[in-house]
Symmetry: C2
Subunit: 224 residues, 2 copies
Amino acid sequence: EKAISLTKSIREEAITSLFSETLPRSLAIADLGCSCGPNTLSVVSEIVIVVEKLCQQLNCSSPEYKIFLNDLSGNDFNSVFKSLDSFKVKLLDEIIKSEMGPCYFFGVPGSFYGRIFPNRSLDFVHSSYSLHWLSKVPEGLDNKGNIYISNTSPSNVSKAYYKQFQRDLSIFLKCRAEELVEGGRMVLTILGRRNDDPCDTEYCCDDWELLATALNDLVLQVEK
Amino acid sequence: EKAISLTKSIREEAITSLFSETLPRSLAIADLGCSCGPNTLSVVSEIVIVVEKLCQQLNCSSPEYKIFLNDLSGNDFNSVFKSLDSFKVKLLDEIIKSEMGPCYFFGVPGSFYGRIFPNRSLDFVHSSYSLHWLSKVPEGLDNKGNIYISNTSPSNVSKAYYKQFQRDLSIFLKCRAEELVEGGRMVLTILGRRNDDPCDTEYCCDDWELLATALNDLVLQVEK
């Protein structure tokens, strides 16, 4: 939630320049890694409100919105879909005009490390806190019982994870390049560190160590 | 399943004429009221196979497929989405060529008695055994404790249901008219009777009477 509010102005700028340049009659927006909590629709709501305000300022008619909500097929799309009706009511309340452009919602199951949308079908792509999930654990690696990069991991482990990240991000960008229209915009928020140490607990490794210890304990109990 | 196999040739004819006329590079197919059982994807699979065979015969390249699966937001889309990976593998097995056009899947939650797709966005619309579900029970009706048209229902009840059906179907057709592209096709399969008696048990009322009796028994127990 903090990340979403910190990056708000970046999204606003992106969608404002996109919309003002072309005044499109239809706007296809994708949220990649949408998950299923209260944050799922907050970015969508924010974008629609920005565009509706722009329409009032520029005195042009509202576009139709095509909202694509993507996550892995194991995501709880059922609860996302069930929340859509109340979301639409709430959204209309926040928009000053009595009406807005029609909103069409689509659930898109699948990994964004592959093509999930038709060619040139998206105007705006958003992804927050999803791209740090790799497509898979790097192959052929002996990580000494760790589930992530740990202080006790051999030195080649962090290199292997880094290479996997490079491969994944490169595939992500290639796929989106096919799916975005010319002049489309993309805003990606991703976890990072301020230093080179992949185990620096200030940034993100704390939870993994705890989880790994718990999982290893469970494994040991089964082995007994 | 019987209805789907009986209507196969009608769909084949529709999709063949649609595809042959325009040789589209992209084909948007919607299944309205897709539900979530084993039948959900069988029509999609059948249509893709017909088109891929046509491409081989006509020696043209495969289109990209946009498959829209619609049902009410209470439908179990999670299980539909989870079945997509194995569906794609199975589909490729049935297609004689080693490859086919890319398939993009979208879940579309919402009632088809309203707009659920953007303007002119669909090439082919299919709906099987869904349009007999009305959008609501007709208003202001005293149906003497029945949940459907029964032998003991007052005579105005079947008229009210009939009018509701007319209103609903008219809305359905108006919405689809906006959503289909020019020259698009629609194949609808709907339950019917061979006579005028809405209570004729040969066609569809049997289950409702049983269910109504069971529900009324439960209500009586609560009232005690």
